[in-house]
Symmetry: C2
Subunit: 378 residues, 2 copies
């Protein structure tokens, strides 16, 4: 189907832009001499992940066991499940391993390490477990100098579990917006993770993998000495939050929501769209940044931003498009954007917007589209 | 499966609470002498809708054509599609009608009415169309006294389309929090919609249905003279936003997200959960209300609120539970809520949280659960 024949709302992937984003990241990783393990939580889409692997990625990162199961069933075996494992999920993780999946788990506490060790001992099986390191205080992990790091190493080792490496995610990079600050955080992410690995090795525990990353730090790191691999997810689509962080332009954003004008409220200068928050998601990530895009930046059907307009509000299936302050349209609204006009909205956060759709429409340079399915749930 | 055997995160429906909510609303509607047409966009779940119909509901309201298609396939024929129709969706809507679905469309502009009339004329077919009336300025609709109301009536009539009624949704009720303000808005919603119907009838156009509603106004209306039916959606589950509006207690909230403790950051008093925004949604509806619940209110496994705790932050698959200011836990955190502890989180907005899951787990009084599937997409 051609772009203008699609029903709305629809999640469009601009395939040339996506391929450019994939090439950009992989070229950087190659130049820095590290492996690249894309985080597939952004897309949950086999066609996208195949393009990442074809470009040179080594294995994948997942945020749920369902992602691990779906991608393993598609033939991908090198999988890092990058969320500290809940004890009740261990049988499901072991089932994957027993089927031949090289699934690596993550822990960031003595308690979780103990649960994994106990499970393995009781079953007479093993896991490869990576330890999550906290390098920026934004979420999870053990700080590089904490005693608990070596205690976890010991618990895993004594329980017959293989401590395969360390991983960190400097998620506070999303709060930055200058190249200098991003480069500094990338340096901090690298040095903290390398230091944690060194402490484990010095204590006699194996620690082969040193895995770092977030999209902003991956695109800002000056050197990655001691790092073996980088992880990043949202770079494949980019979004308005990443635009504000400063690591992409709006022309790089490969995900957009196709929508139709369904009404007008001329007194308020509102254009009503059939893309509400069910399509865009409730993500308002740009609300804390210098440039607030509301629920998204509207573009014409060919992808050109409608400068001066913003998706200012959203109900479940209604989006409200408003002009910037000082640019009233009034009674011209209906003539300017008549009922039935199709637009594309660039999202705040590609991971959240993609998740609202059971499928993407991959859009090629010639205007043709095909369905790429996306899965949902845990 | 029993509640404590479920994998996490999972969307739980407390069936006794849901049934109580359904009975409460239906009893009110019966007492007010109006039909009740529940909005199924909240649940998109056949088992829930069957319980609403069994309690006395007459027909359903939908927000997408997919909802109409799925519920029509399940035998429900009286369906109001309550979003102004996009012209490109008319063939899909007509296909439903030709299969015997009593699908009613909505328009709120001269432009959309013209598109429907043109489509019907060209095809030699007809639709029943309701006109959306704006009674509180919050979103869509034609104000009761606007000239466009009668112009739309005429366009539909001349195009061989049946103007079947008027409908309004006083969605600004979500911004209120006193019984007096809610009752006043319910009165305004009623009188504006009845007035619009009267103007259409006085001009010679049929206008049988007078349809009003939102959960807060439906539960606050003192009288509904002239109204033929009420619509409401979120009342079936309720949520923290509705709690703050004042139309339910936390004990009425029938939807919760089951989650597991996966880590601790004692220095920050954070308990890490495996329910992030992918499970809770990005909805922060209570952020603009008097009581901000963050991403949700945690409860123990039996549903008792964990007073003084809040889901303060969320990443994709990580939730961060924090104690209220002044109630530090520090090193006691891991003992208080150890790794593996299961909790339930009451959501800000049930419509948004439900949409994150491909299925619900219906939870009965005896602790047994069954799967109720939920659909996704358009």
């Amino acid at each position: 189907m051609k772009l203008d024949e699609l029903d709305t709302p629809a999640a469009l992937i601009d395939v040339p832009r996506m391929n450019r984003n994939i090439e950009r990241m992989q070229a950087r990783m190659n130049a820095l001499g590290v492996r690249f393990r894309p985080h597939v939580k952004t897309t949950k889409c086999l066609e996208v992940v195949r393009a990442q692997l074809a470009a040179g990625a080594t294995g994948i990162t997942v945020s749920t066991l369902k992602e691990a199961e779906v991608f393993f069933a598609a033939g991908i075996t090198d999988i890092l499940y990058a969320v500290s494992i809940a004890p009740s999920k261990l049988p499901r993780a072991m089932a994957l391993r027993q089927q031949g999946c090289d699934l690596k788990l993550v822990v960031d506490s003595v308690g979780a390490a103990g649960e994994v060790a106990k499970f393995c001992t009781e079953l007479g099986e093993t896991f490869e477990v990576w330890i999550e390191v906290d390098t920026d205080g934004h979420r999870s992990g053990i700080a590089p100098e904490q005693d608990a790091l070596l205690e976890i190493g010991r618990i895993l080792h004594d329980g017959g579990v293989r401590p395969g490496g360390v991983m960190t995610h400097a998620g506070s990079s999303y709060e930055l917006h200058t190249p200098e600050a991003l480069a500094a955080l990338a340096g901090q992410e690298r040095s903290g993770c390398v230091r944690a690995a060194q402490r484990l090795r010095d204590a006699g525990f194996p620690c082969e993998a040193v895995s770092v990353g977030s999209t902003p730090t991956a695109l800002s790191a000056g050197k990655l000495d001691g790092v073996t691999e980088v992880r990043a997810g949202v770079y494949v689509f980019f979004d308005l939050v990443m635009h504000n962080v400063g690591v992409c332009s709006t022309d790089d954003i490969a995900l957009s929501v196709l929508t139709t004008v369904i009404g007008h409220q001329p007194e308020k200068d509102w254009v009503m769209l059939d893309a509400g928050w069910m399509a865009m998601s409730r993500d308002r990530g740009t609300s804390k940044q210098a440039l607030d895009f509301g629920y998204g930046l509207p573009c014409t059907l060919d992808g050109t931003p409608l400068t001066g307009w913003v998706l200012s509000s959203a109900n479940q299936e209604h989006g409200i498009l408003s002009p910037a302050p000082g640019t009233r349209q009034g009674q011209h609204l209906a003539a300017h954007l008549p009922i039935g006009t199709k637009l594309r909205i660039l999202p705040n956060h590609a991971c959240a917007t993609g998740a609202q759709f059971p499928e993407y429409r991959a859009l090629y340079a010639d205007g043709e589209t095909t369905v790429w399915s996306r899965f949902h749930g845990w």
